[in-house]
Each structure stands twice: as structure tokens, then as C-alpha cells.
């Protein structure tokens, strides 16, 4: 199995290398092939960041323009998919920064409260076990997506990039132009705020 996986890897490597040569030679078909192969995934990423189909298309167009410009610097050290995912994320974040700020909730109200001695002000409600059944899980995931969207951008973005897009902490820091430690702190606060938003639906008495 390992050997067959390695053969698949090699085939992919050589087909990517061939595509890169065709792109560098300026073959029109190669550009369409690259867009068709990766554009769908890039659109999904951009849509998750921007929450708008129209803006996601703009971000993907910007991403491809920027990718085409730097094709000669793409050394094939990473896969096209990984490289383009990073560029699409960056384009979407740039577009997000340009968009007028939306009204945002204050997450302080979602974080736990402490007494003067820094002990919990009240007992946090006990959550029920997460459902294992597929339909209930799916329903819960929809709720989680909805609640993630309610988070302020400064917290929604690190959560999205780390937990859903699976970017490394250092990469998120670079994309967001903040330190790695700031990403870590924001991620923890984002999860705490999300916990606060989900809690009313998750407490044991709510079934």
C-alpha cells in the first residue's frame, strides 16, 4: 500500500511539474486547467472568510492574478493546491480588510465571570454529551457555523484559519500581521466566546 501511495505521489509530482512547464510556456489550456482544478476549493475558502459569493469570486480572481504573476517563483516546493489555498486566503483577507466594518458583538459578555478572588462567579452550566448520530451532528455543526459567523472578525478569522482551514499558527500570524502569541490568545478567546454562544443550546437541561 505504501508503495502504491508513493507511486501515486510520484505521478502527481510529475503531472504538476508538466503543468508548471506548460504554464511557464504560456499555454492557454494550462491556465484553464489550473483554474478548473483548484478554483472550486479556493472559492470555498474565500466564501468561508468573506461570507459572500460575489466577494469570494473577486478574491479568487485576485488570487489567480497574483499566482500567475509569481508562477516563475513557484518552485514546486509545495503542491499547487497548498500554494493556491494560501494565496486565496491572503486575497480574501485583504478584501475583508477593505470592506466596511460590520456591527460586532462584545465578546466580554461571553467570557466567564470571576469574583474578586478570581474564582468562577457562578457554576458554569454542564454540557450534554455531543451527539454521535449523523443527523444530530449535522444540525449541531450548522449551529456552530452560525455562531462562528457571529464572532467579531478579530476572533472569527483565527478560529476559521486554525480549526477549519488547518493553517499553522505561524502562517496565521503572517497572514493577519500579528504575533504568533497574539494568534494563540485570540484563538483561545474565540473558542471561549463561541462556547458562550453555544452554551444555551448545549446545557444538559436543554436536552
Amino acid at each position: 500500500m505504501g508503495r502504491s501511495e508513493s507511486r501515486t505521489e510520484k505521478t502527481r509530482d510529475s503531472s504538476e511539474a508538466a503543468l508548471l512547464s506548460r504554464l511557464l510556456a504560456g499555454e492557454e489550456d494550462a491556465y484553464s486547467e489550473l483554474i478548473r482544478a483548484h478554483g472550486g476549493r479556493m472559492l470555498s475558502v474565500a466564501r468561508r472568510i468573506l461570507r459572500s459569493d460575489e466577494d469570494a469570486e473577486d478574491a479568487v480572481q485576485d488570487a489567480f492574478v497574483s499566482a500567475f504573476r509569481s508562477l516563475d517563483r513557484f518552485q514546486g516546493k509545495s503542491r499547487f493546491g497548498t500554494w493556491l489555498h494560501r494565496i486565496a486566503t491572503n486575497s480574501a483577507l485583504m478584501l475583508l480588510r477593505k470592506r466596511p466594518a460590520r456591527a460586532e458583538i462584545d465578546i466580554e459578555f461571553l467570557l466567564p465571570e470571576f469574583l474578586e478572588g478570581r474564582h468562577h462567579a457562578g457554576a458554569p452550566p454542564r454540557w450534554s454529551e455531543l451527539p454521535e448520530e449523523e443527523a444530530s451532528r449535522r444540525e449541531l455543526w450548522n449551529l456552530v457555523r452560525e455562531k462562528i459567523d457571529e464572532l467579531p472578525e478579530n476572533y472569527r478569522i483565527p478560529l476559521l484559519l486554525y480549526d477549519i482551514e488547518h493553517l499553522e499558527m505561524a502562517e496565521i500570524a503572517e497572514q493577519m500581521k500579528i504575533t504568533k502569541n497574539a494568534v494563540k490568545v485570540r484563538l483561545c478567546r474565540a473558542r471561549q466566546a463561541l462556547r458562550g454562544l453555544l452554551s444555551p443550546s448545549m446545557v444538559e437541561s436543554a436536552g
Binding site: 483554474i35 468561508r48 466567564p112 454542564r126 449541531l140 483561545c188
Partner: protein, 122 residues
């Protein structure tokens, strides 16, 4: 005051919410009980608010041994932190297992054309 009563009153003691008489009973019990003296030390090691800082490192098992021991000693005496940690971990489980949502869409034809056209304009 017995050991169980002392543990139940521990946070009120730290918040200075006990009556003077109850506080005196508390102090007297701690002075005569080695187990409760150890318990009081744990209470003083880290506050519930301080625990928040280490939630992710604790779950990811990246907390250094000494801090991990402090974290676990606190959990052993604090049902509130156990409940909070449990709900925080479940939140992480939910976001970490979240599927991508809509499957990757095909690239709409007009977008494909627009991208190729913007390449031609370079």
C-alpha cells in the same frame, strides 16, 4: 467544621464571604489538619481565572509538567473548572470536526473567463 465542609466553604473563605465565627472555625480546622493544609496550598497555587490561560496547552498536552500538575491539582478541587474545561473541550471538538460545508463548487464559466481575461490584460 469537618474536611468536607471546609472544602465546600473554601472559595467563600478566599472571597472573605464567611462570617467571622465561621472563618475562625475554618482557620482552626486548617491548623489542626494536614490534609486541609495541603488543600489550602492548592487553592493558592492558581485561580480559576488563571486556569483559562492554560486551557489549550492542557488539552493539547503541551503544558510543562509542573504547570500540568498545578492545573490538575486545581481541577481536583474545583467542580466549576471541570465543567468549564468540559464545555471548552467540546467546543474545540465541534470546531475541529466541522466539515468544510458546501463541497467545492465548480468554477463558474464567467469567473473562469474573467480570470483568463485579467491574465491577458497583464
Amino acid at each position: 467544621m469537618n474536611c468536607q465542609e471546609l472544602k465546600e466553604a473554601a472559595w467563600d473563605y478566599h472571597e472573605n464571604l464567611l462570617s467571622p465565627a465561621r472563618q475562625a472555625e475554618y482557620d482552626a480546622h486548617v491548623a489542626s489538619c494536614t490534609e486541609c493544609t495541603a488543600f489550602m496550598k492548592v487553592c493558592a497555587e492558581v485561580t480559576c481565572e488563571g486556569m483559562l490561560e492554560f486551557l489549550d496547552d492542557y488539552i493539547d498536552r503541551t503544558l510543562e509538567a509542573e504547570r500540568r500538575a498545578i492545573f490538575e491539582r486545581h481541577l481536583a478541587i474545583c467542580p466549576e473548572c471541570i465543567a468549564y474545561l468540559d464545555s471548552y473541550q467540546k467546543t474545540r471538538d465541534l470546531t475541529g470536526s466541522l466539515p468544510d460545508g458546501k463541497p467545492d463548487a465548480d468554477v463558474p464559466a464567467d469567473l473562469l473567463r474573467a480570470i483568463l481575461a485579467s491574465r491577458d490584460r497583464r
